[in-house]
């Protein structure tokens, strides 16, 4: 049963790889090299474990194998010259301890190494694509093939991207550390951005035509949950986790039987995943308790939570949502946020108030070709009985949307107003 043992070894890799790479990176001070060593150990496991069986402490076995490989490379002078001294000293030091102690070493140490690994893989010296690829590879234990598949790029392209990213980190001599002070916040933003990018890559794809993408959502959630344990005092980490948990809770409800998108207010709320909602609400509470209620992710999570808490659409606290959008708007001004605020304000205080906000956006260049602007404006105009103006807006929205069924819907609404 060769395939069974291979799948079991892959499962061990999934559990151990990030800790392994992080532990090795502390010794060799280069995450690219650490990952190569870890990969070598993985290949050795694939060769030996089918015969020997999986060792009782597979993590320790992999670590020992990787370290022996490092010592071997160092003796043969194959490691970068300027890294020699440091590595030899560290390896000597390490060898004084039984390597089998690896699994018993303080959790805090492994935690610190993992956090260093996250920060290094998401270093701003790398492009966003490279950060995403490295994070999935080093923290998620995903194969090049899996990542390539998820992002619809050729495997070769993705492999090159990873090789280049490792080289960039090495050449820029990016230290293997968690930044301190003001830099820590900026770098943390980069880490959170990478995780949310991965999540959205999976979430925004329409279901039914892909295979790896749901896995990206799960992977981003897992990375977020791991990060929340590694950096428990950072409110925005919990804010991001809350946002992802609550958004993911709606996955089953947001597509109709024919695969068509179902808007939030039309969703069957019994299909929401209440395990994820409860986790999301708990994460949001943690973010708020840490004084992070007004962070950008926590605010978006709080808006999502307003919907999640409402058992029916009518129970939605639109006044609170409008206030949260206002806070978000002040933090990160954006016409799209304003448009959302207009909808919430209209629901809470009436269409005239909503229209007032929308009218300030009419000359916004970013929204110039955005069909939702005239579509939302038409909604308000209809509710105010201004049908002629509404018809013009609906026709305009119909020319802007790229979605065929959306266009049909808009034109139907317009023709009904002819009545």
């Amino acid at each position: 049963m060769a395939t069974d043992i291979h799948r079991a070894i892959e499962a061990v890799w999934r559990i151990e790889s990030a800790k392994l790479i992080a532990g090795l990176a502390r010794v060799v001070r280069d995450i690219g090299l650490a990952e190569d060593l870890a990969q070598d150990a993985f290949i050795a496991a694939l060769e030996r474990w089918p015969e020997s069986g999986i060792p009782e402490k597979p993590g320790a076995w992999l670590m020992t194998t990787a370290k022996n490989r490092a010592v071997d490379l160092w003796r043969r002078g194959k490691l970068l010259a300027d890294k020699h001294q440091e590595i030899s000293r560290d390896l000597d030091e390490q060898q004084r301890f039984a390597v089998a102690d690896f699994e018993n070493s303080a959790d805090d140490d492994i935690g610190d190494d993992l956090l260093r690994l996250v920060f290094t893989a998401c270093h701003p010296v790398l492009s966003r694509e490279a950060r995403v690829a490295l994070t999935l590879r080093m923290l998620g234990g995903l194969t090049t093939q899996e990542i390539a598949r998820a992002f619809l790029v050729a495997e070769k392209t993705l492999a090159q991207r990873i090789v280049r990213a490792k080289r960039t980190l090495s050449e820029a001599r990016v230290p293997f550390e968690v930044p301190r002070g003001a830099e820590r916040q900026a770098r943390l933003s980069s880490v959170l951005e990478v995780i949310y990018l991965i999540f959205n890559e999976g979430y925004s794809a329409t279901a039914g035509d892909d295979w790896m993408r749901p896995a990206l959502c799960e992977e981003a959630l897992r990375l977020g949950r791991i990060l929340a344990e590694l950096a428990p005092s950072e409110p925005e980490v919990h804010g991001l986790v809350a946002l992802m948990e609550i958004q993911a809770s709606r996955v089953a409800a947001r597509l109709g039987n024919g695969g068509e998108p179902v808007l939030l207010l039309d969703q069957n709320r019994t299909r929401w995943d209440y395990t994820l909602i409860n986790r999301g609400l708990a994460a949001l509470t943690r973010a708020e308790a840490l004084g992070g209620a007004f962070g950008p992710y926590a605010l978006q999570a709080a808006i999502a939570a307003c919907h999640a808490r409402a058992r029916t659409p009518e129970e939605t606290d639109w006044g609170r949502i409008a206030a949260l959008y206002e806070a978000l708007s002040q933090l990160a001004p954006s016409p799209v946020v304003e448009l959302n605020r207009a909808v919430a304000v209209a629901m809470a205080f009436g269409p005239a108030e909503g229209l007032e906000i929308v009218d300030t956006l009419l000359s916004d260049r970013l929204l110039k070709d955005y069909y939702l602007l005239p579509s939302v404006r038409a909604d308000f105009l209809v509710k105010l009985g201004r049908f002629d103006e509404a018809r013009v807006e609906l026709a305009r929205a119909a020319t802007l949307t790229r979605n065929e069924s959306e266009r049909r819907l808009l034109l139907e609404r317009a023709s009904r107003l002819m009545g």
């Binding site: 799948r7 079991a8 499962a11 619809l152 295979w211 344990e229 089953a252 395990t275």
Partner: protein, 142 residues
């Protein structure tokens, strides 16, 4: 994928015996590892079946029976809800569950939670075909 890991009851758990301190500490550590790995979604332990109730249906007839129930190993003593990449990953985690000092017979059952977005049943070949089709589609858009 999401799995429910069911811990089967045994005579000790049905008798309401509390595990010793070391086992408690080991279990706590194991649960911490699950949380740190982003695997843990939920975990609950159940009271012995003496505190349970069974409701059985036969046609229109409903019968309510108070516990305890016979055959301990058919009963459930607790469960975890895990987010894992594969059943094999769940098996690897289950192998790491700490054992009590006087470990008798025990059984743990792993069940995959039904998933609306479940696309894990694709074979590699099907997935590759889908990918090729998608690439072709994307190329034609370009």
């Amino acid at each position: 994928m999401r799995v429910m890991v069911l811990i089967k009851a045994n005579e000790e758990s049905e008798a309401g015996a509390m595990p010793d301190e070391k086992f408690f500490a080991d279990m706590n550590r194991f649960n911490q590892d699950l949380v740190k790995a982003g695997v843990m979604l939920d975990a609950q332990g159940l009271y012995p079946s003496a505190k349970g109730v069974r409701v059985s249906f036969s046609g229109d007839k409903v019968t309510v029976t108070d516990g305890p129930f016979a055959e301990a190993k058919e009963l459930i003593a607790g469960f975890w809800l895990w987010q894992v990449k594969s059943i094999e990953e769940a098996v690897e985690w289950v192998k790491r569950i700490p054992k009590p000092a006087q470990a008798g017979d025990g059984e743990i059952e792993i069940r995959q939670v039904f998933d609306v977005d479940c696309k894990t049943d694709f074979t590699e070949e099907e997935a590759n075909k889908k990918l090729e089709a998608l690439r072709a589609q994307m190329d034609s858009i370009k």
